[in-house]
């Protein structure tokens, strides 16, 4: 029975449910900016924020896991043992249920983005070890790896390494010196994002080859160059998070110099823009392609922003402001989520024709996601720049009054967030509905 289950799809379905829940908590958390007393004495922002962040982060990690499982099974139908994948999923479910119940009971204990009690990190780490074992078991049988297998392997290994590093603080030695502790914390946060990006960008390369029906992307020298540049940044660019922290100079300089190599990615995107536009016209009705093209647009915007933020002279105006939030939202929704939707549509149903009556509404939802995310992103950036000017110019205005002056931008981001939530929820529900329908019809046959 267990062998008949498509675990790639099951992982995707579970991940989509987490995204649905995550965006609801995100909207509730954003409303606190408009009305600070909202749920103050019940859940409060201290629970709403981690509920949103953790669930959305888990959507990305589990979506990335689902992409690798599904991709490897397309390469080799016998890839991944069903029993270990089932155990992997069960461990994730146990951890996530424990984490969510903990948040509702105001039980924290972890660090930013991983606020849950560290005990729940254990099933996640074991599950990830099983994933690594299963992946290597299949991948090592393949000769001459295409770039996406390299990227998946790198992402899986570095996620495990940085996830363990994320818990070094448990040992008092690592908390003795506050600056070192903060340095390691932000080293971890930078590299963890880089590691899941490796898996997700690897998925984008894999999907491009599937769409084109060849191995052009997988074996091109340019793809390998981009992979190694990405890996180099994953390892060494995190210093750009801590320019204002009085840590060693060399850490900040390494972060700065390595971050500037991202100009190469940026120039490449601008250079290939024209051919991309031609391809969009010919593949518009093909959902995976359309979502990948949408992610390209968001890569352009967010990478441009990231490179500017990585220049220390500009960073002091954006650090500790909503520009950082805009960047986080732009990358996780605009890039990660778009590529994961492309993967979902690939593995569930690729073409617009499949969705029959839902097709028109899917089109509308796609465009509402893009437009509302753009408004959301711009309003957060404006709020952030205004706060940045306030903090650099030594203003006599209090923090409370400064936050009040940002209210129109907080309202814009919350209301555009409502549209974003509805449209993303529609995409999730449509995919899940067709998934359930296909299972029911399979059973009936």
């Amino acid at each position: 029975m267990i062998k008949q289950i498509n675990f790639g799809k099951l992982f995707f379905a579970f991940a989509l449910l987490l995204l649905l829940a995550g965006i609801v908590f995100g909207l509730l958390a954003s409303y606190v900016y408009i009305n600070p007393k909202f749920l103050k004495d019940s859940l409060g922002f201290s629970a709403l924020r981690p509920l949103h962040v953790s669930l959305v982060v888990f959507w990305i990690i589990l979506g990335a896991t689902a992409s690798v499982i599904s991709g490897m099974q397309l390469i080799n139908p016998n890839a991944f043992s069903s029993k270990t994948v089932a155990l992997q999923l069960a461990l994730w479910m146990i951890a996530i249920i424990g984490i969510v119940i903990g948040y509702f009971n105001q039980e924290f204990g972890g660090r930013e983005y991983w606020e849950f009690n560290p005990i729940w990190a254990l099933p996640i780490a074991i599950s990830w070890l099983l994933f690594l074992y299963n992946f290597l078991k299949t991948a090592l049988k393949i000769k001459n790896w295409p770039v996406y297998i390299w990227m998946w392997m790198t992402g899986i290994i570095f996620f495990l390494f940085t996830f363990i590093e994320n818990y070094l603080w448990i040992f008092p030695y690592f908390r003795e010196n506050f600056i070192t502790d903060m340095t390691i914390q932000w080293k971890v946060n930078g590299s963890l994002v880089g590691s899941w990006n490796q898996i997700i960008y690897g998925t984008a390369f894999f999907l491009m080859d599937r769409i084109n029906g060849n191995n052009k992307v997988g074996y091109s020298k340019l793809s390998f160059a981009m992979f190694f540049l990405g890996l180099f940044n994953l390892m060494f660019n995190w210093g750009h998070h801590i320019y204002t922290l009085p840590t060693e100079y060399y850490i900040r300089y390494i972060g700065y110099i390595v971050s500037m190599t991202e100009w190469i990615f940026f120039i490449r995107i601008v250079y290939s823009w024209r051919s991309t536009l031609n391809d969009i016209n010919s593949n518009y009705n093909y959902y995976p392609y359309r979502f990948i093209m949408a992610s390209d647009f968001w890569v352009f915007l967010n990478m441009g922003q990231a490179i500017l933020m990585s220049i220390p002279a500009i960073n002091i105006y954006t650090h500790g402001t909503h520009v950082t939030v805009a960047h986080a939202m732009g990358t996780t929704i605009g890039i990660n989520t778009m590529i994961l939707f492309a993967a979902c549509f690939t593995y569930f149903s690729k073409h617009s024709k499949t969705y029959g009556k839902s097709n028109k509404r899917l089109n509308i939802a796609f465009w509402i996601v893009q437009i509302s995310l753009l408004i959301f992103w711009i309003s957060l950036n404006i709020a952030g720049i205004k706060k940045g000017i306030w903090q650099v110019t030594n203003s006599t205005i209090s923090h409370h009054d400064m936050m009040k002056s940002l209210m129109p931008w907080f309202q814009t981001f919350t209301y555009s967030g409502v549209l974003l939530m509805i449209s993303l929820a529609f995409l999730c529900i449509t995919i899940l509905y067709h998934y359930v329908k296909s299972i029911v019809s399979q059973k009936a046959n």
Binding site: P36, G109, T180
Partner: protein
């Protein structure tokens, strides 16, 4: 010898490991902070995490953006231990009251003392160099 992806991967990974371990050993040769009860300060960091203060507050601009940066709250004008404790225990407009034990409060204050001694977190005191780098004046 032809350079293969595995060679680049190994070189980069080893460099990353060396870089990581060079950072892990910092506490061994870091200058000890004066007048800090380090045991209490490192417990205070756990109190900070237990109540998830980071969801709203920041150190050096790192954290949540609903509340203020607390790096130098310990020495801030019109603040100090008594005011901080009062705000924590009674709450304010946006912040609920937190019922910390006496020990937790003491540890948290020691932690704030430690963050305060680690440096300044204001942004209006930097020199900007021609290469784009910044340095605190």
């Amino acid at each position: 010898m032809k350079i293969k992806p595995i060679h680049i991967f190994i070189v980069l990974s080893l460099s990353f490991l060396i870089y990581s371990f060079s950072i892990y050993i910092h506490p061994i040769y870091a200058k000890p902070e004066a007048n800090i009860n380090i045991e209490k300060a490192i417990s205070g960091r756990l109190v900070w995490q237990k109540y998830n203060c980071q969801s709203c507050h920041q150190f050096y601009g790192l954290g949540g953006y609903l509340g203020t940066d607390l790096t130098n709250i310990y020495s801030a004008k019109n603040k100090g231990e008594a005011v901080i404790k009062a705000v924590i225990l009674t709450g304010n407009d946006a912040m609920p009251a937190y019922h910390l034990s006496e020990n937790e409060l003491t540890d948290l204050m020691e932690f704030f003392k430690q963050t305060n001694q680690s440096g300044r977190a204001d942004y209006n005191n930097f020199t900007i160099y021609n290469n784009g780098m910044i340095e605190r004046k």
